[in-house]
């Protein structure tokens, strides 16, 4: 049984480790168009911001492939899947046969659709290559603008700032972190960034990148202009679904999979940022492009590929980060739309403590924690397992949640 | 259990082994069983004062944690500390109150067997208190002095009377800090009031009240007890005796007194020497009656009557486990309830005698001063009757025993040297000034099962002696060093530095002086005051090259003593530390800030070698400040860690 995995990141490694947990012998091949040994793309922002040493991005030790008996084709791009012949075509012309295949190709930064987008000095922020290119550009840049105020955008801005670039963040929405949290939370971080010397402009969209060959400034829809020799786009990510072409694999935004991470094509699985899964809190089909989901989906796929039946219990929207020593965790539905939600929040501006909990009926469906994030996983557990929290709501709202409190409920739910 | 022996005293190690072989439980086993020591309590961060709690302050929390009432770590540990001082003061002072009553009843002729033995001191102290001494019978004077001193406990005006004995400078410091103790009971009460839920929350203000209370102990309760015990039972004078478990006799009726008050034990001492008692013992097949003591009661009858000492605090149960004791008579303080369990395995009769202290499962024989001698006789008879029940085959008495000379006081130590009949501190001060003696250090206090028994006392004292420091001792510390043989005059030659050796030989004293029980720490205050008065080595206690050390401290009394020593200007090395380490502010004040207020501070250091180094550095610093001559004989530290 030859297992082939396209993608050498969270989902791919998750699958490889799962397969090896069950089957130490079966041939296993990993293909990736990146030439680096498995590293964490989520850490490129940490490196840029100087929070970790350079080149410390390894996700697994370099000996990983050898130790796990994995054939790694690094620096090679898969260009086509021949599901009939059970073959993957690579860009160097070679072909790899598979018995079971996992597509863990992740995503790529979305195009912004703004004129001048291809000018020099404008970067996505997705992989190690991007990071190296940004290092090059930083040397000569005086002003930098980050477009987008999500976690990645904020980290990128911290990075530019760290390198002495006069940095601003420009966002289309009315407040920072609009995807993961609300205005109160956004405000806390806005003040934090501003007090650390990073300017923040809200409610404006770029309309043009100006400059000859190299970007020099950005024009915005309100008529204003910002100087920028370096621009980082922190816009969303779109799944790398190209390989589905010419197969029976269904694509709707991402690759559609069943609860065993199998695509419509037999023996072909998909996992990670490329896959559409069911969100276990909202029950909607979506791409939850976050690391823990990617790994677990890969792991689920890996088990099923190696013959151990394993059902994926759904993904979850979540994120954790820390900026200027103020931690943030956001889980589940944090900006509820529609009826039936009950929202509680607490704000202590001076201590930069904020929390918010969203309930729907007897269930906790979302939480934002700023400043104090201890035991957040207990809340995630409540959401994932759909535990009736009506008996402990008071404790939750008082911040007195811990495992001891939910243990009887969690055990009852099992 | 730990690899190192439980004690540095071979007799104790042997007796403990013997007890273990018989499956007997002692303080060491119980201590193991209650481990770990609760860190919140140990650090002074557990508050049990009100019933909202107990509240514990997490010492590892990065955030500021407060108790339910809002008391933070400083308030909580200062309150705990203050309560310990209050309890310690209460113990010494309640003892003193009893002695006042004994003096009064002696004067009234109601106390059977007691007499006023030191008329000279009676007069002196009465004079000091402005009582008319001419044309007054000694009996009347005794009554009046007893009554006058009793006023110290509850007077509504003025302050504790012996405070006036302190050097002027220190009295001024006390006044400035507002800590002149008013009445002894009042200070104890005020400590309790202030530390009640929701009263005093300011750590410094709490500690200053603790100081006021402690001064009411050192210059109040303790001093009254010492002075009146001298009056009633006679001031001690140098006297030879023997120490350690080996003093127990296989062929005699062994009676051990244990606790703190000399009132009954003095009478037992009298009765034990009566021929008819001896006769009675013989009739029961014993060769005689062997009266000895443990803890401070031992020190009292040793100092005045030369009765041998069976051991110190941690040896109390082991004394019984020798199987050789017919009767153990206990009164108050440092009496482990565990004695009952130990005694239940032997023929040993254990009796409590103080109405303040009873132990479940133990016969209580109320001691009545009006029939003191009869009471003592009946106890001894009882003991002799018990001799026949002793199982001689299983008796195991460690052979260790050591000679000592005890009975030194502030008045008599340098008595012979003055060239006249008047005592003088000149030779002592001269020796310090000329660099023969580095200084004088009081090593006092208890045993504590948390440290190897007697080890800290011995290690510290040995290094001090080698470095020409004259050591004065009381309490269980004194017994520890006596067992080591350092209270024999010959010891000077064997262990002391050259300068100390010269002085000991000239004066004819051992290098370690036994000054008595723990209330007798007041003798050390007086001795220091005399050194100031003699002149040449400082205008104030805080300038003297002296220090105090309690390196196996165990009781709340020790905390009170430590605090009055510091507040009197004597820097004090203390371990294990009182429960203040969880509050950086309280710790800082006690070890540094307090120096500004009283001219001395605490040092909390657990390693006895470090303590020795610290004390020597402290003495040298005082010597330098006084521009005294350099030490005549350089003596490197015996051991360096």
């Amino acid at each position: 049984m030859h297992h082939v995995i396209i993608g050498n990141s969270a989902a791919g490694i998750g699958a490889a480790e799962a397969i090896r947990q069950i089957d130490k012998e079966a041939p296993l091949t990993i293909i990736s168009d990146e030439s680096e040994s498995a590293y964490s793309r989520a850490l490129i922002s940490y490196e840029l911001a100087g929070w970790i040493g350079k080149g410390n991005l390894d996700l697994r030790p370099r000996e990983f492939y050898q130790e796990k008996n994995i054939a790694a084709h690094l620096g090679k791009r898969a260009i086509k899947i021949d599901a009939g012949k059970k073959q993957v075509h690579l860009n160097d012309g070679s072909r790899v046969d598979y018995d079971r295949l996992l597509i863990a190709t992740g995503g790529s930064p979305q195009q912004m659709g703004v004129p001048g987008e291809d000018k020099k000095g404008i970067f996505g922020f997705r992989n190690y290559r991007d990071l190296l290119n940004i290092y090059d550009a930083i040397i000569t840049a005086e002003h930098g603008v980050v477009l987008g105020g999500g976690c990645i955008g904020l980290q990128a801005a911290s990075g530019l700032h760290h390198h002495g670039v006069k940095t601003s963040i420009a966002i289309a929405s009315a407040h920072l972190l609009s995807q993961v949290a609300d205005a109160e939370c956004g405000d806390i971080y806005q003040r934090l960034f501003e007090s650390n010397g990073i300017a923040i402009k809200t409610s404006m969209k770029p309309v043009e990148f100006r400059g000859v060959g190299q970007v020099g400034s950005i024009g915005f829809d309100d008529g204003s202009e910002m100087p920028a020799q370096i621009v980082i786009s922190g816009k969303g990510v779109k799944p790398n679904t190209e390989l589905a072409e010419g197969t029976k694999i269904k694509v709707d935004r991402g690759i559609i999979v069943d609860d065993r991470m199998c695509t419509a094509e037999p023996d072909v699985f998909a996992a990670g940022d490329v896959a559409v899964t069911q969100d276990c809190v909202t029950c909607e089909s979506t791409v939850n492009a976050v690391w823990p989901c990617a790994y677990e989906q890969g792991r689920t796929a890996g088990f099923n590929m190696a013959g151990r039946d394993r059902v994926y219990d759904g993904s979850m929207r979540m994120n954790a980060a820390e900026f200027f020593r103020v931690p943030l965790i956001s889980i589940g539905v944090v900006k509820p739309q529609g009826d039936g939600y009950e929202v509680h929040s607490y704000l202590d501006k001076s201590r930069m403590v904020y929390w918010k909990m969203v309930f729907k009926g007897k269930l906790l469906v979302g939480a934002v924690l700023v400043g104090r994030v201890e035991r957040a996983g207990v809340l995630a557990n409540l959401m994932r397992k759909h535990i009736d929290v009506s008996s402990i709501k008071g404790e939750l709202l008082a911040g007195r949640y811990n495992y001891a409190l939910i243990k009887p409920l969690a055990e009852g739910a099992e | 259990m730990s690899q190192h022996p439980i004690s540095s005293d071979p007799a104790t190690v042997k007796a403990h082994q013997h007890a273990r072989e018989q499956n007997l439980t002692t303080v060491w086993e119980r201590h193991e069983a209650v481990k770990p020591i609760c860190a919140f309590g140990d650090l002074g961060l557990c508050c049990t004062i009100c019933y909202m709690g107990p509240c514990r302050i997490d010492p590892f929390s990065a955030e500021e944690i407060r108790g339910a009432c809002g008391a933070g770590r400083d308030t909580i540990s200062a309150r705990n500390f203050t309560r310990a001082v209050a309890a310690g003061t209460a113990a010494h002072s309640d003892h003193a109150r009893g002695i006042c009553h004994t003096l009064i009843e002696t004067g009234q002729g109601k106390a059977q067997g007691y007499r006023v033995m030191d008329l000279d001191k009676l007069k002196r102290v009465a004079d000091e208190h402005g009582l008319k001494t001419a044309d007054v019978s000694f009996a009347d004077l005794a009554v009046r002095l007893g009554q006058r001193l009793l006023e110290n406990f509850g007077q509504s005006e003025g302050s504790v009377s012996f405070l006036k004995r302190a050097p002027k400078g220190q009295q001024e410091r006390w006044e400035r800090a507002g800590v002149l103790p008013r009445a002894i009971d009042r200070e104890v009460v005020e400590c309790l009031h202030r530390t009640h839920e929701g009263v005093d929350a300011e750590y410094r203000s709490l500690i200053l009240q603790a100081v006021r209370c402690a001064l009411a102990d050192g210059w109040g309760g303790s001093m009254i007890a010492t002075e009146l015990q001298d009056v009633i039972f006679g001031s001690p004078r140098p006297i030879r005796s023997r120490v350690n478990l080996g003093i127990l006799k296989k062929d005699q009726v062994n009676v051990v007194v244990h606790g703190h008050e000399p009132v009954l034990s003095e009478m037992l001492g009298v009765a034990a020497r009566e021929p008819q008692m001896l006769e009675y013992a013989r009739s029961k097949g014993a060769e005689g009656i062997n009266l000895s003591g443990i803890c401070c009661t031992a020190n009292e009858i040793l100092m005045r009557q030369g009765f041998p000492v069976a051991g110190n605090f941690l040896q109390q149960e082991l004394a019984i486990s020798t199987g050789a004791i017919e009767m153990m008579v206990v009164d108050v303080q440092c009496v482990m309830p565990g004695l009952q369990q130990m005694a239940s395995h032997f023929h040993t009769k254990l009796i409590t005698t103080s109405d303040k202290a009873r132990i479940p499962g133990i016969e209580h024989v109320p001691f009545n001063e009006h029939e003191a001698l009869d009471c003592a006789r009946s106890i001894l008879k009882n003991a002799a009757d018990n001799f026949v029940r002793r199982n001689q085959a299983s008796v195991d008495i460690p052979e260790e025993v050591m000679d000592l000379v005890a009975g030194f006081t502030a008045e008599n130590t340098f008595h012979h040297l003055g060239g006249t009949f008047r005592s003088t501190y000149r030779p002592l001060n001269d020796a310090i000034m000329s660099g023969r003696l580095r200084g004088v250090v009081g090593v006092v206090g208890c045993n504590n099962v948390r440290v190897q028994h007697d080890y800290n006392h011995k290690t510290l004292v040995e290094e001090l002696l080698r470095n020409d420091v004259l050591v004065v001792e009381t309490g269980c510390a004194a017994i520890a060093c006596a067992k080591e043989g350092w209270m024999r005059p010959e010891a000077a030659r064997e262990i002391a530095g050259k300068g100390l050796q010269e002085i000991c030989e000239v004066v004819g004293i051992p290098p370690v002086l036994h000054m008595g029980s723990c209330v007798d720490n007041s003798r050390i205050l007086i001795a220091c005051t005399e050194m100031v008065r003699e002149g040449g080595i400082g205008e104030d206690l805080s300038q003297l090259p002296v220090a105090a050390a309690a390196v196996e401290a165990m009781s709340e009394k020790a905390v009170a003593i430590g605090l009055y020593a510091v507040a009197s200007g004597i820097t004090t090395f203390f371990s294990p530390a009182p429960r203040v380490l969880g509050s950086p502010a309280v710790y800082e004040y006690l070890t540094q800030g307090i120096e500004k207020d009283f001219g001395a501070h605490w040092v909390f250091e657990a390693d006895p070698h470090e303590v020795a180094r610290g004390i020597i550095a402290h003495l040298d610093q005082k010597r330098t400040a006084l521009k005294l001559e350099p030490m005549k004989y350089q003596q490197p530290l015996a051991r360096t860690a």
Binding site: G14, P292, E296, M318, A320, A321, E322, I329, G377 | L581
Partner: protein, 169 residues
């Protein structure tokens, strides 16, 4: 895994919430390894076991060293690993970046965000301590146990009073 892994188990009914285990843990993870030294350290050492107050019982809780360690799956820095031989879940502090993904995901809330050093603190079973886990040796009432699941079951069954206590709650 060939043999059963050894873990730390807790018996809630025996826990008196004295918090000795927390203190012992902090001291065991301090540089000075003594209580007095530890409370003065900067940064303060962090304990990795927490005595949690539940609605009826106290639960001394630390890392469960799970068979399916979610923290490992979630760690985007690759700082978490599971020792295949001992079953121990380890955090490599060199690699930890303090992103708190593990804090967000651990269903027990047993990974502690140590704000003072910006890294995740969690139970390491005191692997370098000869006497075994400090929390276990510190527990007065025997509420904590270190051993395999089987050994724990046996231990639990031999605890006196447990049945009565259970009935009482």
């Amino acid at each position: 895994m060939t043999s059963q892994p050894r873990k730390i188990f807790a018996i809630s009914e025996l826990c008196t919430a004295c918090r000795s285990c927390e203190i012992a843990c902090a001291v065991a993870h301090s540089r000075s390894a003594s209580l007095i030294g530890a409370i003065l350290e900067v940064p303060l050492p962090r304990y990795r076991i927490e005595v949690q107050a539940g609605s009826t019982l106290n639960l001394p809780l630390n890392c469960r060293h799970c068979d399916e360690p979610e923290c490992l799956f979630a760690c985007k820095a690759g700082a978490v690993s599971k020792d295949e031989a001992t079953g121990q879940v380890r955090v490599d502090l060199e690699k930890c970046v303090g992103c708190w993904m593990c804090v967000m995901i651990c269903p027990y809330g047993a990974v502690i965000p140590d704000a003072l050093i910006g890294k995740a603190a969690k139970c390491d079973l005191c692997e370098n301590r000869a006497e075994g886990p400090a929390c276990v040796t510190s527990c007065l009432t025997g509420a904590l146990f270190y051993g395999t699941e089987e050994e724990f079951e046996e231990y639990r069954n031999t605890r006196p009073l447990l049945k009565q206590l259970k009935a009482h709650r």
